[in-house]
Amino acid sequence: MINFVVENNKNNENLDKIRKLVVTGTTAVLVVYLVTLAGFLGWGAYWSRRESKATASFVQKSAEVDKLAEQEVVIRKLSDRLDAINAFLDSRSNLTTLSATTVGENISVGGWTFEASGKVKVRALGQGVDEIKLFSDNMVQKFSAVSADSITWSPTDGWVGNISVKGLKNVQ
């Protein structure tokens, strides 16, 4: 006679092991999932609250900024005007410095032109050609471009040097 009872008990033990394993594993997965889900929802709720708080605060502060519109208008107008002044000052040539630089010892300035390009033409009157040369050499020290356009002598004007200069060095 075959003993089926022993075989049946063995199957039951195996089945019980599988059941415990599946239930334990499922519970573990469920716990991990629920904890993760709760954390995720909590994280979402946290940021949602922060956003709502920031939005409410933004609305309140926007209203405060609107009340201070007069201050804002004055600041913006002042800033624009400061920019306009600085732009104008930066764009213009400094002729006070330029005219002071284009004078020399022992010569007199008989003519002086300034062009929009920044070029200055000086009609230098001197007693001798050496004075004109000295003036020209002096200009070379001060300007990046110097041209002696002409040097003439006449009984009425004496020695006349027409010197063109451009690009004052070391200008502030």
Binding site: L15, R19, V22, V23, G25, T26, V29, L30, Y33, L37, F40, W43, G44, W47, R50, E51, A54, T55, S57, F58, K61, S62, E64, V65, D66, L68, E70, Q71, E72, V73, V74, I75, R76, K77, L78, S79, D80, R81, L82, D83, A84, I85, N86, F88, L89, S91, R92, N94, L95, T96, S99, V103, V109, G110, G111, W112, T113, F114, E115, A116
Partner: protein, 230 residues
């Protein structure tokens, strides 16, 4: 009796099945889009960060505005408007030229100019951006007198720029460009940051401290009306 026993014996199998179903169902619900769902929750962090950044900008702006004294800044604005008027104050330029002639001892013999509209430009009005340009002729005795004219003009408010000079035979012709700038349209967005101006103002006060304004200078009011210089 036997079948009941079998069902009971394998009832535990339902547990993982139900759990898997619940997990898949909830994940499906969360990822299917719409308000309160997975994607929206992830976006919340970005949205909150953006809102807080905007709030921070607004708070900084509010702090500056609260500290701003309208009276003081209006006085500063009036001072800067003396340097660069809001309209074409050609009459002030003429007064400056007369002053330069008077200080240097030269004689102002003529002036002609291009001016255009002299009504102060407002944000609403169309701005005629033609610069104020005057051609001026002085009778001078020597180059030193011309230098004096130039130095006076270059240290006067409203600001002028000397574009051309032609000096010869006791006469000098100058091309003068007057500074002016209409009122720009103020930004109305709450989040537009305020411009940094305090350092620029302090630097400009130092830069212009030797500049002289004419006693009779009348600055534009900002009202959009032409200013009577007389």
């Amino acid at each position: 009796m036997y079948s009941n026993s079998i069902v009971f014996k394998f009832l535990w199998v339902l547990y993982p099945v139900v759990v898997i179903f619940l997990i898949l169902f909830s994940l499906g619900e969360l990822s299917s889009g719409g308000a309160g769902k997975l994607e929206a929750l992830v976006k919340k962090q970005d949205e909150a960060a953006v809102e807080e950044q905007k709030l921070n900008v607004l708070q900084q702006k509010l702090d500056i505005l609260r500290q701003t004294d309208v009276k003081v800044e209006s006085e500063n604005l009036a001072w800067t408007t003396k340097a660069v008027p809001a309209g074409k104050e050609v009459w002030l330029m003429m007064a400056e030229l007369n002053n330069a002639a008077s200080v240097s001892g030269a004689v102002l013999s003529s002036y002609t100019g291009t001016v255009g509209d002299v009504v102060e430009a407002t944000a609403a009005a169309s701005v005629n951006d033609v610069p104020i340009s005057l051609e001026v002729e002085f009778k001078v005795t020597d180059f030193a007198q011309l230098q004096k004219i130039i130095s006076v003009l270059e240290k006067s408010l409203p600001l002028v720029s000397i574009a051309k000079v032609n000096f010869s035979n006791g006469s000098v012709k100058l091309s003068i460009v007057g500074a002016w700038s209409g009122w720009g349209k103020a930004a109305s967005e709450a989040l537009t940051p305020l411009p940094e101006y305090k350092d620029k103002l302090a630097n400009l006060k130092i830069r212009l401290q030797e500049y002289a304004t004419l006693p009779e200078v009348m600055v534009s009011s900002g009202s959009g009306q032409a200013v009577n210089p007389f």
